[in-house]
């Protein structure tokens, strides 16, 4: 199977970042509160998305802040983030995607009303 696509890791990370940002319930993509989670390329760093490859697979790690809402379910939101990241990576030729780790670094409490 093809594990190495035509696009660079940075290009894939950038595309994932944009796709995940559009997922309802995601406030922002972050680098992590203490340790910088990022994909590095020549003269560029995409924070909040880590693309790791081995000989056969691609693993992804996405750091997000969620918007609080009364109906918020982090596992459900994680699944939506995972799906968006996986689809975007595979569309750019990074396949097969094995794991997508989702890290919620923050909850934005001003995003939802009082219950």
């Amino acid at each position: 199977m093809e594990a190495h696509g035509a696009r660079s890791d940075v290009a894939i990370a950038r595309a994932i970042r944009e796709a995940v940002r559009r997922v309802p319930g995601v406030a922002e993509i972050g680098a992590g509160p203490r340790v910088v989670a990022a994909t590095y390329g020549p003269g560029e760093r995409v924070e909040g998305v880590v693309v790791r490859r081995d000989a056969e697979h691609v693993d992804l790690e996405v750091h997000v802040a969620a918007v609080y809402a009364p109906s918020l379910s982090l596992p459900a939101l994680a699944e939506a983030v995972r799906r968006a990241a996986r689809e975007q990576a595979e569309a750019l030729g990074a396949r097969p995607v094995r794991r997508v780790d989702v890290a919620f670094d923050d909850l934005h409490m001003d995003g939802g009303g009082r219950r």
Partner: protein, 191 residues
């Protein structure tokens, strides 16, 4: 500061330390020839610090010691500090990947829920993850006219329900210390 600038400052700091240490050694009696016999130019420069009178020797020692300290301070400041990973709670783990949430995120959620209980003025929490679920311990400052046990119980129930609903993990225990005083003072525990 860029990596190049950090490297430059570190090299200059190191050079200052070494240079000052060499001068200090010569000033306190080590022969210049034993340090720099391999470089006559340097040896001649160092010889000017041999056999100083007491006053000049004291000044030389003080200045070189100061430069060594300054160099060490610069080195320490430029040395990259390791950043600790923030504690995280695992919500799901499997072949598709892990889902985690920062401990501060859980604490924020707990604080928000507690603040929605009538009578709660302030709330601070700590969260621990054990095999049997999350253990949440909080301190609440409540209005003087409020019923402490009732408010604490509402806080417990609200936090447990919200965390389990939003995070999808079991909350094993919520302990609340409720008090009339602001949170800097001691409290009364309600389990």
């Amino acid at each position: 500061m860029s990596a190049f600038n950090r490297l430059l400052v570190s090299v200059l700091a190191l050079a200052t330390i070494v240079g000052a240490a060499v001068v200090l050694l010569v000033a306190v009696g080590v022969e210049a020839s034993s340090i720099a016999s391999w470089w006559p130019w340097l040896e001649r420069r160092l010889e000017t610090f041999e056999g100083l009178d007491d006053t000049d020797q004291a000044w030389t020692v003080a200045i070189t010691a100061g430069l060594i300290v300054l160099g060490l301070v610069l080195l320490v400041l430029e040395f990259p500090k390791p950043r600790r990973r923030e504690p995280r709670m695992t919500l799901q783990s499997g072949g598709l990947g892990r889902v985690t949430v920062s401990r501060s995120g859980v604490q924020e959620l707990a604080s928000r829920e507690a603040s929605l209980v009538e009578g709660v003025r302030e709330f601070q929490s700590e969260v621990q993850e054990n095999r049997d679920g999350l253990h949440i311990r909080g301190r609440a400052s409540v209005d003087p006219g409020a019923n402490l046990p009732a408010v604490a119980q509402q806080v417990q129930e609200r936090i447990k329900s919200a965390v389990e609903q939003h995070l999808g993990v079991k909350v094993a225990d919520v302990a609340v210390d409720a008090q009339i005083q602001p949170l800097t003072a001691g409290g009364r525990r309600v389990r």
